[in-house]
């Protein structure tokens, strides 16, 4: 067992929980569908990790049926914004997040957790949603934590983007009144 894996097992995801499932899944990215190129230079993630994150983000926001009127996760570059953010936090957090993406992509864990025997990036949208839902509802704390990490980071990147404000009836910040010195 290498040091990274040992630390992860001991400390858990993003510093949390006890990982009860298999470890570092070295082959998880061999079959990853890379999709579109990143919109900016990546600071933390590999191309494969970015592709998994972009695929997850596309299911989290804005969701089915909204493509015509809502910006896509790709259009507001959720994955790129998350990459830039996590490049600045403690290196352990970035490392844990990369392992989380590896777990999410893994067809082995997909089968085990959600009966979904394909890499996440190659699964159909409904199957991807079922996989996210399985993490969300899991009896394992570490999977629920992993779901929350992906959900919150994605929704934070999306809903803090001015392109989305009008869709939720938010007119944006007011004009700051001029105050005499």
């Amino acid at each position: 067992m290498n040091a990274d894996r040992r630390r992860f097992l001991k400390r858990g995801l993003l510093g949390g929980g006890v990982l009860l499932l298999a470890g570092t899944l070295p082959f998880a990215f061999r079959t990853t569908a890379l999709g579109r190129r990143p919109r900016r230079d990546l600071r933390l993630l590999s191309l494969e990790e970015h592709a998994v994150l972009a695929a997850v983000a596309a299911r989290i926001v804005p969701g089915d049926g909204a493509e015509a009127s809502w910006p896509s996760a790709e259009a507001v570059d959720c994955a790129g914004k998350i990459d830039a953010l996590l490049a600045t936090v403690h290196p352990d957090v970035g490392g844990d997040f990369r392992r989380l993406l590896r777990m999410f992509e893994s067809s082995f864990l997909g089968t085990f957790i959600a009966g979904s025997p394909r890499p996440f990036t190659r699964a159909a949208p409904a199957e991807q949603d079922a996989r996210i839902e399985a993490w969300r509802r899991s009896r394992f704390t570490v999977l629920r934590s992993g779901y929350q990490a992906l959900r919150r980071l994605t929704q934070a990147a999306y809903y803090s983007s001015p392109e989305v404000f009008a869709r939720i009836g938010y007119a944006g910040p007011p004009v700051v009144p001029q105050v005499p010195a």
Binding site: L14, G63, R136, T141, Q155, S160, G169, P174
Partner: protein, 522 residues
């Protein structure tokens, strides 16, 4: 001590060389309510003071009211601080001014019942309301804390006022630390008018005028000690954009070291330094006022984006006898904060997000530590990452469920069309009959949205050095010239928004430090 000094200044990390060293009388770690108040008192007494702050220095022209900028720039871990299982999101400041830059201005004195509890259970009876009175008064004057103002009440808070009023729950107007407030609604992202009175614009400014220097972008990694005395603090100078070390700053402290990094960073600093941890209680009994939100949907727009974020509070349930109490306030409903608070993903979540303008958000802040709940625990991993664990004790879960029911009653009384809990499978409440269903839903980690904006404890005051870290004047039991002046010294949660408590305790402690400074010089 010496006479008046020339004014000091704020030195950013970018201005520092790779290796820098300074010698001062007092090194203060952290520039929020505690660090600011202590710096002002010590600098006014003639001491040479250096304040070392991990976060960046920003002023009103930087505060653009955009969540995408504010949370990464102004909050701990770039807005990502949480308990290790991510069950409780931690909103905590990290900038020159600390939590006061991003708090929602609510200003309460430490409740007398809390001071009595500390006296009875923790042996600090000499820290009573009369002792604190002049410090509360001075802090309120400096922060321009006025009487509660009905004109501050926006639609979000008005529902709390009306609902609690109808039910006889004695809502009160909150006193706020503002002057010339335009009620824009963006206190949590830094005030673009400087109308909010923060540590940076008040006590820290006073300290700088009296000769203190503030070093921003410097993360203190160690307190150096020798033979029972604190000698220096060692900081990494950070490249602000990358948030990675680019140099080192050592502040040698002739007279003492004062810690004010907040209730998570201060115990972590002592643990990392392996200094002053003999009691075995450093980092234990960390309290969060775990905060349970609930949302109500109205037919008319509430627009919780705008207006003073908190202007009404309800303390009717603060004392529940043998059960954990709580108090009610509101939270602003900005797009990012609102979106991550409501559960789910995909189309179901999007449909909730579309209704945000019609949402009223009430929050219950659980008063932890006053009963048998021992709070959480801070420790540091081998690689230096701070870890916070916080179990959801049965007593807290009971209080959360009780609070959800009462908040739903309040919102229905205020005219809500429907109320929704933030369980992963939300419970929708349209009448009193629906409220019983709340108790049937599991209240578990990551099963309901929880956050904390108030971090306390971990370096508790007390009379017994085996069970506490500092005495009733913030002085460390083992390290004779080390003081702690932030919320970590509180033996339990405060039971009200803590900023004024922190300022006032820090001011009292620093006054005592200045009085005894000659005694501790050697």
């Amino acid at each position: 001590m010496t006479g008046p000094r020339a004014p000091g200044r704020i030195v950013t990390g970018a201005e520092l060389k790779a290796m820098s060293a300074q010698e001062v009388d007092f090194a203060i770690v952290g520039s929020g309510a505690g660090g600011g108040a202590a710096a002002a008192v010590l600098a006014a007494a003639g001491a040479k003071v250096a304040v070392v702050e991990e976060g960046g220095h920003y002023t009103k022209t930087d505060f653009n009211m955009q969540e995408a900028w504010a949370y990464p720039a102004l909050y701990q871990e770039h807005g990502n601080r949480a308990t290790e299982d991510l069950a409780i999101m931690i909103l905590q400041g990290r900038n020159v001014g600390g939590g006061t830059t991003i708090n929602w201005t609510s200003s309460f004195r430490t409740p007398p019942a809390t001071l009595r509890l500390w006296a009875e259970r923790h042996g600090i009876g000499d820290l009573d309301a009369a002792t604190l009175e002049p410090h509360f008064a001075a802090v309120e004057a400096r922060l321009d804390v006025g009487a509660g103002n009905p004109d501050d009440v926006n639609a979000n808070n008005r529902k709390l006022l009306e609902g609690a009023g109808k039910l006889g729950w004695h809502p009160e107007l909150i006193r706020r630390s503002v002057k010339g407030c335009a009620r824009l609604g963006y206190c949590g992202m830094g005030c673009p008018l400087d109308a909010k009175r923060t540590s940076r614009t008040t006590f820290l400014a006073d300290a700088i005028a009296a000769g203190a220097d503030v070093y921003s972008d410097c993360r203190v990694k160690l307190v150096e000690t020798d033979r029972g005395r604190a000698r220096a603090v060692v900081a990494e100078v950070l490249d602000r954009a990358a948030d990675r070390p680019r140099g080192r700053l050592i502040i040698h402290a002739r007279k003492g070291v004062v810690l004010a990094g907040g209730a998570i960073n201060t115990p972590a600093l002592l643990l990392r330094s392996r200094a002053g941890t003999d009691s075995g209680v450093v980092g234990k009994r960390t309290f969060l006022h775990p905060t349970v939100p609930i949302v109500a949907f109205y037919d008319q727009p509430i627009e919780g984006f705008y207006g003073a974020p908190q202007s009404v509070s309800v303390h009717h349930f603060a004392d529940r006898g043998a059960r954990v109490g709580y108090f009610l306030e509101t939270a602003p409903v900005h797009p990012m904060l609102g979106a991550i608070a409501v559960p789910g993903f995909g189309a179901a979540h999007r449909k909730l997000a579309e209704r945000l303008p019609f949402v009223q958000a009430t929050i219950a802040l659980l008063i932890d530590g006053h009963h048998d709940d021992d709070g959480g625990r801070v420790d540091v991993t081998e690689s230096g990452r701070i870890r916070l664990r916080y179990p959801l004790y049965a007593a807290l879960r009971e209080a959360a469920i009780d609070a959800l029911g009462n908040m739903a009653r309040l919102q229905l009384a205020a005219g809500a069309r429907e109320v929704m809990t933030l369980h992963e499978t939300p419970i929708v409440i349209r009448s009193e009959a629906d409220i019983a269903r709340i108790a049937d839903a599991p209240f578990v980690a990551n099963g309901h949205t929880l956050f904390s904006a108030h971090q306390m404890g971990g370096c508790a005051m007390g009379s017994d050095p085996r069970r506490s870290v500092v005495n009733s004047r913030g002085r460390h039991h083992q390290l004779e010239n080390l003081w702690i002046v932030d919320g970590s010294v509180f033996p339990t949660s405060v039971g009200a928004n803590p900023q004024v408590s922190i300022y006032a305790h820090a001011r009292l402690f620093a006054t005592e430090i200045a009085r005894t400074a000659t005694e501790i010089t050697r």
